[in-house]
Symmetry: C4
Subunit: 256 residues, 4 copies
């Protein structure tokens, strides 16, 4: 494999599908959200994307199986409930600049074949402030207004949107498609299912799809416990280092 390749192992007949992408990134917001959609909607995998710009290792699964890093492409037929979907998630982003552009272009080639008109990418928006929030940005005024109506706020100007979450909608401009980024506020250093849920609430309203979000609550609780524990550890550590500093000050104060 010398270039990015999409391997299709089934043909889907989709009507006016919306493509939604969520790869690893800030707070894993995109990956958690799209994975949840795939599971909850019982979407079906019909293609995989491989790239010589992904990291050069294989992963080992539970039963000693190995596989290359990849992105996975699923579809879901709405049968009248909202719209048909193509869902993309995966293991990794491309590791080089032109690799990022190549992967994005391959996904758009695939989208064109399925006559996709609208593409949504999901990502995280780094913020230390605790209140949840969902931001949107688009190259299409119509799509942008739809997202605002669905509850998202405009992304603050000046923020770069990095990786596939930005490039994919950025490149739609050359394909006659509309692109939309939906970003969940997150501190970003831990997987953040709460931010993913906020994003999905917007998407449910935006697309009218029958997606139940309660299933994420357990993961959210778990993430909060984890964060709490880490905070506890950090607090203890901070306390201890304050003590050490004070002790040192006490000792060194004998010198001067």
């Amino acid at each position: 494999m010398r270039r990015t390749t999409i391997r299709e192992f089934a043909k889907a007949s989709l009507y006016n599908p919306v493509l939604i992408e969520g790869l690893p990134g800030l707070g894993m917001v995109g990956k958690i959200a799209v994975n949840y959609m795939i599971k909850q909607l019982q979407a079906r995998k019909f293609a995989e994307l491989y790239s010589p710009h992904f990291p050069y290792h294989v992963v080992v699964n539970k039963r000693g199986g190995i596989r290359l890093l990849r992105a996975e492409i699923y579809y879901w037929k709405s049968q009248g409930r909202g719209c048909d979907l193509i869902l993309i998630t995966g293991d990794s982003q491309a590791q080089t600049i032109d690799g990022q552009y190549e992967v994005a272009s391959s996904i758009l080639d695939f989208a064109e074949k399925y006559e996709v008109k609208r593409i949504i990418t999901i990502g995280g928006y780094r913020s230390e402030d605790e209140t949840p929030g969902v931001f949107c940005a688009s190259n299409s005024e119509d799509f942008f207004k739809d997202a605002l109506r669905a509850g998202a706020k405009p992304t603050p100007p000046g923020s770069p949107i990095v990786g596939l979450a930005g490039l994919l909608p950025g490149l739609t401009a050359f394909r006659g498609m509309e692109g939309l980024c939906i970003l969940g506020k997150t501190k970003g250093y831990l997987p953040d299912p709460e931010a993913a849920k906020s994003v999905l609430e917007v998407i449910v309203r935006l697309l009218g799809i029958p997606l139940e979000l309660k299933g994420l609550d357990k993961e959210i609780e778990k993430a909060k416990r984890l964060e709490g524990n880490l905070r506890g550890i950090e607090a203890t550590r901070a306390l201890r280092s304050t003590k050490i500093r004070k002790e040192e000050e006490r000792r060194t104060s004998y010198i001067s």
Copy 2:
């Protein structure tokens, strides 16, 4: 998008146009100068350049709009006042070595289509000395002499001219064109509209175009205030750290 691409959305009929490039670089001299020309001359955009060697993110503008990083290409018809112009500015330089050469080559392909004979690039020349000054360098003796007559001085030998500002005129040699770098003296760490103005004074004389430069004076004042403030902050910081050092010396002098 897998290679550097220029997207034209209008056709211009230009007579013997001179191409002027100013992308981000030292002191933003080139970008400020070309942006000012575009605004002041009311030049019209007719093409955009995209490259998989630009950084892999999109920028978000004031109303939640997104776009890829790009260079923008404008034209201006002189109608007898000087000569027709093609003006190029943009967000970023290519991020890899061969990307730099690829972007430069794409611009020259475009220039050839419009039968450009002369190319000017604008950049900064780093110097701590405060007196303004404009340097020029060229692969054509004629073009060089024209620049000297217009008030520029020869660039001191040995200085490398980095990025598009250097590659573009360097590569003209293979296209039967003449290339000229015009470099404004700048400290380089802050946007420097004063250096941009000095460069434009030379260009106005060189090309005989009707460009009013007063409009830059406000920006120059603003930049000076900003620099003054920063200097104030730095001075305070320096003062404070001198105090701390003295205090430390006083304390440690008890030891030895």
Copy 3:
């Protein structure tokens, strides 16, 4: 040479050969194992692989001869004892991500020409624990079971297998081949012939080839002596730095 190239200087007529790869990596397990097979089985070289992604230097041999870095490809005809083999070892792995994929793809092109159905890669599995052990991972359930029967254990899930040892079996999925990694437990920082021997014991049982392994015992002894010496040096150093620390503590305790 602008792309990875395999130069064949002899034609081999092989029956259903298994390809075994061992390039430099963790503990040099793969390279030691395949080199030993080549020598012991008196395999014959019939091709060499060169790549512009290998480091850009030549090596100088004992008599002032020079050569590019390369991988070497040997064959061995079983004549009824086990199965025919293609053996690959070499100087270096590719130095870039897409170079790794390119080299792997070139090897698979070559394997296809010889109608290879099964590919084994040998590597190290980093572990501080001293007991020997051999792990396997595969994209084929059949091949995996064969390896388990031959004495390997399943690779712990989650471990990435880096470089050609991982990519090569990972990419077999697209060629209708079966791929297997066999990894010898090793601390990894020194060449580890003992780990190589453990791996070869599994391979002998797996393929039924007549490979005598006693020849490795001398190298194993030598490696153990070397490790013992290094440990001695380290212990001395550790002892000395403990002394210094104590001395320092004694001195500084006068201060506070």
Copy 4:
């Protein structure tokens, strides 16, 4: 320019020419030697090599002229005194791994056109020991023996020869040519015309060309003075830092 390109501006009719390359590297040995040959033999430039893998800047010369980084290709017709020569020197080596292979391959394409059979590259061999010495390494036993007879010694085994000096003779193996590296012993951190002279003494004997070497003696003297001065500066600095250390020891000895 999107790939390495050789621009020829004259045709030379050469008889069985030997190609000699000396680009910047350790102690500038190769560049100094080939530059000296060009000047002394009054060789004529007939081609230039440009590459998108050279650094992306232009250099400015004494009269404000600019040019891209490049390699220059000269020829010299022996007219019975030794053999015809193609001489290559330049500003820089390629900055990427595959760029190094691409530049080397372009030079070999050019060499093939002129039916070159033997290629010599000149470089430095790093050594702290002061006695001069010249090492050789080759992929051809004949060529190697010729170099030994001309006074070179075999390069110590295991040394990598980095960059074009190694790749070019390494790659001759695929072109039916013979390649030879000639390396002058040098400390390597300063331009070393003495090492270049030692190398040229070997080359004069090897090829029987009428090259007077006295012209290098002035440069050698200059280099020795420069080294002497630097050593003086370093000695002073070392002395001073010894004083400071002693002073510090004296002071701190009051503490414990």
